[in-house]
Symmetry: C2
Subunit: 361 residues, 2 copies
């Protein structure tokens, strides 16, 4: 069962939980705000539903509460950050703030961060730049999930790319995995006992796995040595563009693990405490190219031209960020959606940490 | 019939043709080298095969021989170039040289160029940076070709993205349209009288057009008001990731036409002499992040890990640039492939311009 809850109250609850882990007030606000932002924008797979995963990582030491990210190399337009395995969200906010500052001073800032943790949706960090009137980008690597074209074993991560830019009536936010779908989407279909609608998962490099009853195959997605993996954006054959999604995933790897000299995808595991994912953060001030307001207006008009095209009957043409803006409008008014199981998990975490729970839900 | 020809001789012939148009010696070398590079790397659709298109544009004034690109706005890390409708290749080389110079001095250079012309493969410009030990990116917009997800009419261009980075045993070069395939690939299948193997072209937003005999539908691809267009990378439904290819196409539009305040895709036509495509050029010096050689070695090892994965029987795992490197090795030794029809077209151009032809082929 999924019910709606007041986002302000859930935010307070999540804040109290992070405080109880030992994070500072500011850190706890940042972490809570980030997760609630995600739920408010309708991306429930990456919102408070993920608290239990972060809780496990904090308990087993994969996330180190006392760690602080550190700049290890810096120029006017760039920085390398060693996150020392602190909370991914805090590393992300810290790193994007550096990129934003550099963009404001020098036009562009690129930051690459190693030894980080799972940082939630990449779009959050890209949007931080957009909120400052800049263009923002972020991406991260992950453990092996994607099948390189013609490979029978996964190696590249789901490696999302996010891009945000101010526009009217709302910010353009693009945030997509370079696999056809992220891992979380498959979990959603399995929970709903629905068969997958397209070639999302492949066995032996080519054979679609789509029956939701193929439990054994789906479970192998967590095993980097297995013959099952996620199809790149573009599927598993060159005819459909497989090499394009695969190549984009490799480029994400460059900006995250390669430039930061951190862990590449095939070194990352959920259990090894000495490795962590890497992330990248870019901010660009459009003013270095021209009048910022004129640029944003031109962009808004272009997006509106696209929305105004004739559409397939019964369908709406959405540009990136439209659906999230609609979800926000609804969820800020009517509450964010949380399923019973997630709520039970949060209740158990709160109980263990002696955090009051009842008042918030 | 396709035959092989000595690339050095064809280069001289193309050089003579450009000289005859009125380009300087340096310009003619740049233009000829660029086209021959393309053929040497096995991308025949964009090599000398395109001479006839450029010839038409030079004759009708869409390409202005006497135009010189001009920097209209500049910072330490950026520039906006107005190309004044000069030859796309020359604008591209000029603009990428600026990006490279800025990257060498300040770590990063981003250039956006408006009022340009068709500039050939985006990968050529990205590779210019890689040849200087930098990372390079380039992209361009084009007339409407891509169907935004659920739209029944094209609006976004094929908008390719290219990325190059030095690696062993050869440079990583990624260069792909954000549609599932570029327009040229469809022409190739039609010439070969082969049906299309996947959903490359869609009618009314959803219906695949794949029979090579559907001449009427394919011809509508050139008509921006028609109900036929190219599928984005990821197809035409969200299940297969259509919104991802579409969103990437829009991001290319940002870095090309929006930031340069040039012509957006839906303003571009092959006939209107007062509009032209826009391009972007990025160079980044990896040294701003760490030891350049260590970064390139780490990247080379990662690519080798991918190539070494178990593959689908009978298939080889190629990373971006592998096929082009193999083609180069073959073509530099055995000659570049040119079909008879292209050769006839070149002969006619040479005859009109009083350029000696026989000695070169």
């Amino acid at each position: 069962m999924v019910k709606r809850y007041d986002s302000t109250k859930i935010n307070e609850l999540v804040y109290d939980i992070y405080k109880a882990y030992g994070f500072s007030e500011e850190q706890s606000h940042q972490a809570a705000d980030m997760l609630i932002y995600t739920d408010l924008h309708g991306i429930e797979s990456h919102g408070v539903q993920r608290l239990v995963m972060y809780d496990n990582f904090i308990q087993n030491g994969k996330i180190r509460v006392q760690s602080a990210p550190e700049i290890v190399k810096e120029t006017d337009v760039s920085a390398v950050v060693d996150a020392h395995f602190g909370l991914g969200q805090l590393n992300g906010i810290y790193s994007m703030d550096i990129a934003i500052q550099k963009a404001k001073e020098h036009g562009i800032g690129i930051v690459t961060t190693r030894n980080s943790g799972h940082y939630g949706i990449a779009g959050y960090y890209a949007n931080m730049a957009a909120e400052q009137g800049l263009m923002g980008m972020s991406s991260c690597n992950s453990r092996p999930a994607m099948l390189p074209t013609h490979a029978t074993k996964a190696l590249v991560g789901t490696n999302p790319i996010a891009f945000a830019m101010p526009a009217k009536p709302h910010t353009f936010i693009f945030d997509v995995a370079t696999t056809t779908v992220p891992q979380g989407k498959i979990e959603v279909y399995r929970k709903l006992e629905k068969d997958l609608p397209a070639l999302w998962v492949a066995k032996d490099g080519e054979t679609p796995v789509y029956d939701h009853n193929d439990t054994e195959d789906f479970d192998l997605l967590r095993d980097p040595d297995a013959n099952v993996g996620l199809a790149p954006l573009g599927g598993v054959t060159e005819d459909t563009g497989s090499h394009k999604g695969f190549g984009l995933g490799v480029i994400v790897e460059v900006f995250t693990s390669i430039l930061s000299m951190g862990n590449v995808s095939n070194e990352i595991t959920p259990t090894d405490l000495s490795v962590g994912p890497c992330q990248s953060f870019v901010a660009i001030d459009p003013s270095i190219f021209g009048d910022k307001d004129a640029i944003f207006e031109k962009f808004s008009n272009y997006l509106q031209d696209i929305r105004s095209l004739p559409a397939v009957p019964g369908k709406t043409i959405y540009v990136a960020g439209d659906k999230e803006a609609l979800a926000y409008e609804n969820n800020i008014k009517n509450g964010i959606e949380i399923d019973d199981r997630t709520l039970e998990e949060i209740e158990a975490i709160a109980a263990r940490l002696n955090v009051k729970y009842e008042a918030f839900v």
